[in-house]
Symmetry: C2
Subunit: 202 residues, 2 copies
């Protein structure tokens, strides 16, 4: 069933990027460790589709899953840190980026990208654009806003077997009311990966 | 094989207790949610052995495991917040509590408890006292110090399907050098639980 799903690689201590993260240092210091399971330790390529080495088992299954979504919603920080994925995350699907201001020319040149100020509007637009497929959400800010607004359906956490000790946490500043989750699927992949899939309870 | 194993219930967002944790409010506001899988939503009893309702499957397996360890190492905060487990965590095994100062009389009355200033010394004493069984470690401070000192062998995280949104994190202030883990076992229990067992790589 089509859903709005957050896909994120996270260390066991909750980090999605290392310290000193910036547009120039997208994954933060040492943060590429969190993506080794996808890229076999190679630098994260601009073009995800061409740069991904052969995967197998559960790791392949979840990558195939998010690379089959019909639209992407992301925060500005994540988008810019990833170089805007060269303007195409996968398969030419529309990308909705959260930001309140008009983009600078370098960020305005991507035909697939729409800038939206509000998470609810971004999710609604993405669902319509996805044509019945699921929507991939990405980034900590988008996740936080979507959880607050109640527009996130599911989470797929790629749990990396490492303690990073510092950096940017996935879950920071989310509402203090408990958000209950329903465990949907647990998959074990190469490299000690555990892929955890939860549904957000209404 | 006997090992020093950290056993902790943790929310998906990394918390082991809710906000406003204190000796009087041991699990913090709403923190009992993290132990529902053991106590079926009832208050956490002083006597773990008598208070635990019937469990089954993976939840039973991991509780049986930590209730079969031969010694306990814990930080002072965790120990006092738990009321010192009435002086007996399980089966009368020795308990080693980290603290630098001499205990007040109310905390000095437990024959099974030894106060030790140093984590390495606490772990060494616990291993000897455990008589070939594994050592249960408990609490965020003990975990942090043991990871720093390199005396923690394994982690068993009882991952609770909830976002707590605030409180005390298990992994805070650990060294910024990456600590690599080896996935040993993943078990799915009732109530959406996922029990993650990792070995700390040397």
């Amino acid at each position: 069933m089509a859903a709005v799903v957050l896909y994120m690689s996270m260390s066991l201590d909750g980090y999605i990027a290392g310290p000193n993260q910036s547009v120039e240092n997208g994954l933060g210091d040492g943060g590429e460790r969190l993506h080794d399971w996808v890229f076999n330790g190679k630098p994260v390529p601009d073009d995800l589709k061409r740069g991904t080495p052969p995967l197998q088992g559960a790791n392949k299954q979840v990558v195939d899953e998010f690379m089959s979504t019909g639209a992407v919603v992301t925060g500005r920080g994540t988008f810019e840190a990833a170089g805007g994925w060269g303007g195409d995350h996968h398969d030419g699907v529309p990308i909705f980026v959260l930001r309140r201001s008009q983009p600078e020319p370098e960020w305005a040149r991507f035909p697939l990208v729409t800038y939206v100020p509000d998470i609810t509007e971004a999710v609604e637009s993405a669902k319509q654009a996805a044509g019945g497929k699921s929507v991939m959400m990405h980034g900590a800010t988008a996740a936080r806003l979507a959880l607050e607004a109640g527009v996130l359906d599911e989470l797929e956490i790629h749990l990396v077997p490492v303690l990073l000790g510092g950096g940017i946490r996935l879950f920071d500043g989310i509402p203090p009311e408990h958000i209950e989750l329903e465990r949907v699927r647990v998959l074990e992949g190469d490299g000690g990966m555990v892929h955890l899939h939860y549904r957000v309870r209404p």
